[in-house]
């Protein structure tokens, strides 16, 4: 079983995002970069499948600037076998250009499963996985919280509003991982040491110009300073009054 996991480097979720002088991009100088949290679920799932079958290979595919190597190493430290980096400039590439470049490399690779995170927590686009599926003509189930392989088919469960869907698909297939799929492992020291020795294959791919651009960025309106209504249960009648008369929320 060959599994490819597409993974992206993103700012740590604790990062305070600062808007750059051009008001179109963010300042990247002080950012602590990590492997996208949803991609950790995808890597973990790939490793669990490989371990269960006792055979196979897990390859990480990432597109990004040189610094992406550290996110790739995190995935390798978890236990992935090898990795490919499509090296780009640090500028913004939209989802379709990213998907096209990934598909360009993927079309020459052999795999049974292609895993993505549901979303990259920088652009929050939720696009690249299903776009790659569309470009490669593969079936795709997004935002999955369970994955079972049986008789050459895959059965995945995804949550929808007020319920869940269980989808059975041919393979090879594309899946995007949601929280709930598994608990990503922490890399062991041995894994971290081994990851340093694994080579990362670098590829050059022509990348399309973006078809969408950011023209302006701002901070969300700050909520006006709230009020502490009071202490303990005695403050409740006043709260109810405010909710009804001032906020008109009930």
């Amino acid at each position: 079983m060959n599994i490819v996991v597409c993974a992206k480097q993103v700012p740590d979720t604790e990062t305070r995002i600062k808007i750059a002088g051009d008001k179109k991009s963010i300042e990247t100088a002080d950012i602590n970069w990590i492997l996208n949290p949803y991609d950790e679920f995808a890597v973990e799932e790939a490793l669990q499948i490989k371990e269960k079958l006792g055979a196979g290979k897990v390859t990480i595919l990432s597109l990004g600037p040189e610094r992406s190597v550290s996110a790739i190493r995190s995935a390798l430290a978890m236990g992935a076998d090898d990795a490919i980096l499509i090296k780009t400039s640090d500028e913004y590439h939209d989802s379709l250009s990213t998907a096209k470049a990934l598909a360009e490399v993927l079309k020459d690779m052999e795999f049974d499963l292609l895993l993505f995170g549901k979303q990259a927590v920088d652009d929050d686009n939720l696009q690249v996985g299903p776009m790659v599926a569309e470009l490669l003509g593969l079936p795709c189930v997004t935002s999955i919280i369970e994955l079972d392989l049986q008789d050459g088919k895959a059965v995945a469960r995804r949550e929808i509003e007020g319920g869940a869907e269980v989808v059975k698909t041919q393979m090879p297939a594309v899946f995007t991982a949601d929280k709930g799929l598994n608990e990503p492992r922490y890399p062991a020291l041995r894994g971290i040491m081994m990851a340093k020795k694994k080579t990362i294959d670098e590829k050059e791919v022509a990348i399309d110009d973006s078809r969408i651009s950011i023209v302006n960025i701002e901070y969300p309106p700050s909520r006006k300073a709230g009020k502490i209504v009071g202490e303990g249960a005695d403050a409740v009648p006043e709260l109810v009054k405010l909710l009804r008369d001032e906020a008109k929320a009930i």
Partner: protein, 328 residues
């Protein structure tokens, strides 16, 4: 006349989802600015009855795509129908809900057409005949305005943000049937089972009132007091990741960066500290109430109203007081 604004609607078992009215209404607003018409696609298996209703929200023309395979959402079938409809309608703008269905379908359509998509938008404007799409990025830490360099311009819209207009019984739309050929062979992936949640339960993303509990709830049993409060005001229960990871509440109820992004009228946070990842999911709520025993808890910086105190005393009292108001 400019090319149409095209809406892909969402229904379940012959009833439109609330978000469909929101999106048709927004499509009308945009179309009026562009001087174009609104065409709505209604895919399903028995939907011709309800389709006409969208006229009352501002659709000019409705395309009904009926087939047993479309009874419930399944990617391969819906994408085929949507792409066929788009070919016929030739729109300049495509709007779709940023729901489980829309988030799955929209990128397929965009890639199929070779155009860009703006996901989970919270604002749309028309600027010089083109769409400017505003959407949160970096977990709501910034808002970014996007301009399209491809057409059709596709945007998925966050539920509960765009107001649905009052339905106007005096307005109607022309209804046409979309000719489609669909067979099981079109489906590389098939729906094996549909698991329905608790009947009649509103999803967090569509709820007007959410009562949310965190680690301060201490045990799964204690959520009873939040359910009681939610029942009184017609709300639903949410949770922080700490509560979900402890196994107290299902993942579907998690609010935050790795859970759901919600925008209710009222969000009541009980025993939730207000971590940056939790705020990412609920800071666009219209009114936030925090109940926390720690006056230094960061949630108070984001809350419109706060009570410092023990939630096990405050919440039951709140339920009592609200009962008096609601019963009136």
């Amino acid at each position: 006349m400019s090319k149409p604004v095209f809406v892909i609607t969402e229904q379940r078992e012959g009833t439109f989802r609330k978000v469909t009215y929101e999106i048709v209404s927004e499509a009308r607003r945009i179309a009026d600015k562009l001087g174009s018409e609104v065409v709505a696609l209604v895919p399903g298996n028995a939907v011709s009855e309800i389709a006409q209703e969208l006229g009352q929200y501002g659709a000019d023309k409705i395309l009904v795509a009926e087939n047993d395979i479309l009874a419930h959402y399944i990617t391969d079938a819906y994408r085929k129908v949507a792409l066929e409809a788009i070919k016929q309608v030739d729109p300049d703008v495509i709007l779709i809900a940023a729901t489980a269905q829309g988030k799955d379908l929209a990128p397929r359509i965009a890639a199929g057409l070779g155009v860009a998509l703006a996901t989970d938008c919270t604002g749309l404007e028309v600027d010089d005949g083109k769409i400017k799409a505003r959407r949160p990025m970096y977990a709501n830490k910034i808002l970014a305005d996007h301009a399209f360099e491809s057409s059709p311009q596709i945007a998925s819209l966050r539920p509960n943000i765009f107001p649905a207009q009052e339905s106007d019984a005096g307005k109607s739309a022309s209804v046409e049937t979309l000719d489609i050929s669909l067979s099981d062979d079109d489906l590389k992936a098939k729906l094996k089972e549909l698991v329905a949640g608790a009947a009649g339960k509103v999803d967090l993303t569509e709820a007007d009132i959410i009562v949310s509990g965190g680690r301060g709830m201490k045990s799964p049993e204690n959520y009873k007091i939040l359910e009681d409060l939610a029942d009184v005001v017609g709300g639903v229960v949410g949770a922080s990741r700490a509560a979900v990871d402890a196994g107290w509440r299902p993942h579907a109820e998690q609010v935050g960066q790795t859970g759901k992004v919600v925008s209710p009228q009222l969000y009541i946070a009980c025993g939730i500290s207000g971590s940056i990842q939790h705020l990412a999911g609920m800071s666009s709520s219209k009114c936030i109430v925090a109940i926390n025993k720690d006056p230094e808890a960061p949630i108070f910086e984001k809350a419109d109203y706060g009570i410092v105190g023990d939630l096990f005393e405050v919440v039951p009292r709140l339920t009592e007081e609200l009962k008096k108001v609601v019963d009136k």
